[in-house]
Symmetry: C2
Subunit: 435 residues, 2 copies
């Protein structure tokens, strides 16, 4: 590598003017990173060292010896047990030192190679791998498979909680789906992803996994996304599965609670600070996976110029319900004079045909309100159900679940307005805005 004689997988000691590092050389990422070498320290953390700053390299062991040594790592028997459901994504990929490619882990012991510090917190009873795909390739059917696997593990004796590893793109959709599908949830479920791959110095999966393990041992019996709370490695936050959204394409602190405070701040040393006392507590019992989902459910994102024909299209396609992500308090164009673009008559027709029409806000933060302006009052009179402060994405997931179980418009409306999994927050703290 560079002018020095070492390769990915070797155990080395690297000397720079500023410091000395000892650890395993990681393979180079596919894109970028040609000017530095990444070392996995024994603590499990990765560090990037500029090749230009390297003064000397001591090769302590070649890669084959290192793999031998690593595979002897074992979870300790005395630690509390959790289970893991892996679904693909960067987080539980292991790097093949020969090809540099990433492969999903399947055995508990392999997980320790990537995240040795996990053994200090928990013992892993079982790893389930229902499938392995990018999270952007997920469908509601996958949500059901994950829910089944999680329920099975949660009901397994001795298991304190379950970690689901998952790509980050649609992690919040899955979090909402599990929140609604896991009926009678009595233990913690932590969804975890990584924004940076395991071969990079900024890999976040290790700390996220450790914090997720701590969450699984907590008293909070809710589905939560557990990932970085800040861009540095200070702490993770656990955000309620129905009130969370991916807010940045690349930052490690991308998952932010919306209209809600995080359930907890979790430090890698195990210090768990409950930041939102309004949560369900761990109980005895049994969880049931209720995975039915109505695929004829849609989400429409409104914008000026969007023709109401799109609603007619969904009616024609026999959709059972739509969520509109309207503007502001929950609006679309309703001006009667604009016959070509007004939505009111189309909404009346849709509701008349038996379709459920729910309203969320594309402003993301804050709550919809049909009483402030006349346009929303007219929409409500036409049958639109205003979904308070529920996220549009959560509303879509919830509607798919509700429509699969109920046929009567009154019952559907009632269910959509019932707080099933913390999707409504009656008292939104001001500091939750842009938290």
């Amino acid at each position: 590598m560079g002018e020095f004689d070492f390769q990915a997988g070797d155990r080395v000691r690297i000397y720079t003017k500023a410091a000395t590092y000892e650890g395993i050389v990681m393979p180079r990422p596919e894109t970028g990173g040609k000017e530095h070498v990444t070392i996995k320290l024994d603590s499990g953390y990765n560090i990037g060292v500029l090749l230009g700053a390297v003064e000397k390299v001591e090769k302590l062991a070649a890669k084959s010896e290192k793999r031998q040594a690593k595979s002897e790592l074992k979870f300790e028997k005395g630690k509390p047990e959790i289970s893991i459901v892996t679904t693909g994504g960067t987080i539980t990929s292991k790097v093949d030192y020969k090809t540099g490619g990433a492969y999903p882990l399947t055995k508990p012991e392999e997980l320790l190679e990537a995240v040795p510090e996990l053994a200090k917190v928990v013992s892993v009873k079982n790893i389930q791998k229902p499938f392995s795909i990018f999270s952007e390739d997920m469908t509601p059917e996958n949500w059901g498979e994950i829910a089944e696997a999680v329920a099975k593990e949660l009901n397994s004796s001795g298991v304190h909680g379950v970690i689901v590893t998952h790509g980050t793109d649609t992690l919040h959709y899955t979090a909402a789906a599990l929140s609604f599908m896991l009926k009678g949830l009595h233990k913690p479920v932590a969804l975890v992803g990584a924004q940076r791959s395991v071969d990079r110095g900024s890999f976040d999966g290790n700390m996220n996994l450790v914090c997720a393990a701590h969450y699984c041992l907590s008293d909070i019996a809710e589905v939560a996304i557990v990932m970085h709370g800040k861009s540095d490695d200070d702490y993770c936050i656990a955000s309620r599965g129905t009130k969370v959204r991916k807010m940045h394409t690349s930052r490690r602190d991308t998952f932010r609670p919306i209209n809600d405070l995080p359930l907890a701040k979790i430090f890698p040393d195990g210090n768990l600070v409950v930041t939102n006392t309004n949560h369900k507590k761990r109980t005895l019992g049994k969880v049931e996976a209720d995975t039915k989902f109505e695929n004829k459910t849609a989400l429409i994102y409104y914008y000026p110029g969007l023709s109401p024909d799109i609603l007619d299209y969904y009616v024609k396609q026999k959709y059972k319900g739509v969520i509109i992500a309207g503007t502001g308090f929950g609006h679309v164009l309703t001006q009667k004079e604009n016959k070509k673009m007004e939505w009111l008559s189309h909404i009346k027709d849709a509701v008349g045909s038996g379709m459920f029409v729910g309203m969320a806000s594309q402003a993301i933060y804050g709550t919809t309100d049909p009483l402030v302006y006349s346009s929303a009052r007219n929409l409500q009179d036409a049958g639109v159900v205003y979904l308070k402060d529920m996220l549009a994405e959560t509303a879509y997931v919830k509607l798919g679940c509700v429509l699969a179980h109920h046929k009567s418009p009154e019952e559907i409306k009632k269910q959509m307005l019932t707080n099933i999994a913390g999707e409504f927050n009656e008292r939104i703290e001001p500091q939750s805005f842009l938290y």
Copy 2:
């Protein structure tokens, strides 16, 4: 009102244990607020007083006398001139003291009744009122009308800048539209709304207007939304028209810059702090309104379970282009094995038929990137154009403008990737996340 003998429009002095207030009684809002009275102080600011705390009320003048007095207010001749384009919305509504209803202002003098402190900053040369509608009722056609009116005023001699008053629901869409439609913009254009109505103690329109007036006198020749920077009355921020989004349904500091720092912090006393030096400067010249917009442009918000049939629908409807708000770095389901839900073949067909397909991210913050994951690489190979850090809403508006002027796919792609109005930011400051 309550047990006291006064009504909306009266000039009163109200005594409470804590303080004494003198001003005009405002009409009660349509919803809520039955337990307090709102007084417009002579400073222009409103204050709400709990009726239960009122000890004594002195009626200084009945409502008819007050209106007489107010209408004598005049803009001072010596102040620098600006023009105003009013389009409806709460901000420039006056309250009729008889009916309590809100009506749009049409004369410069009437504006002074609501915002007397404006006269200390500027003189208003002209007020244009192309139409008066809720902003949720806006269409791209309206954007063109506003652009025409703004251009006319900007080209009028002596006018330093133009304020556009507008409802807040779609203010950011209009801001993006004006950014692209005002070719050769050489003076400041400030878009202003109000989140609270003029009859409420928390009315924000006055401070927003005053700060917008200061912005019009600045050296920044860009379209910006000028509204509260924080929830209190400390200062406003001017956010670039192509990099701003309504992020809260009700808060006064709802408009936040995205992937960009605000252009300036503006204090009501006129102190304008430039917070982003990367902006166009005021020049001599003439602006031209180029208002052509292709209505066959769509924005598709992706989510797990969204059938690619929606793309076929837009192709059949002969749409010229779509923006997809994909997940993460800009993804949709591309897994080949999922024949019913994979988007790749549909996108190939759409691009093959001559449709432009652009990719933005629903994560809002951060930048799309087709090179990190193979799914995006495949989408790019199929012809999807990745639109860097451009907001999905801005990309939709820009695409409508570009498609109205260009036919060749190469030229459309080139235009969409050219930084025309600050829609791309090459260097995103970390502190702009959740600013």
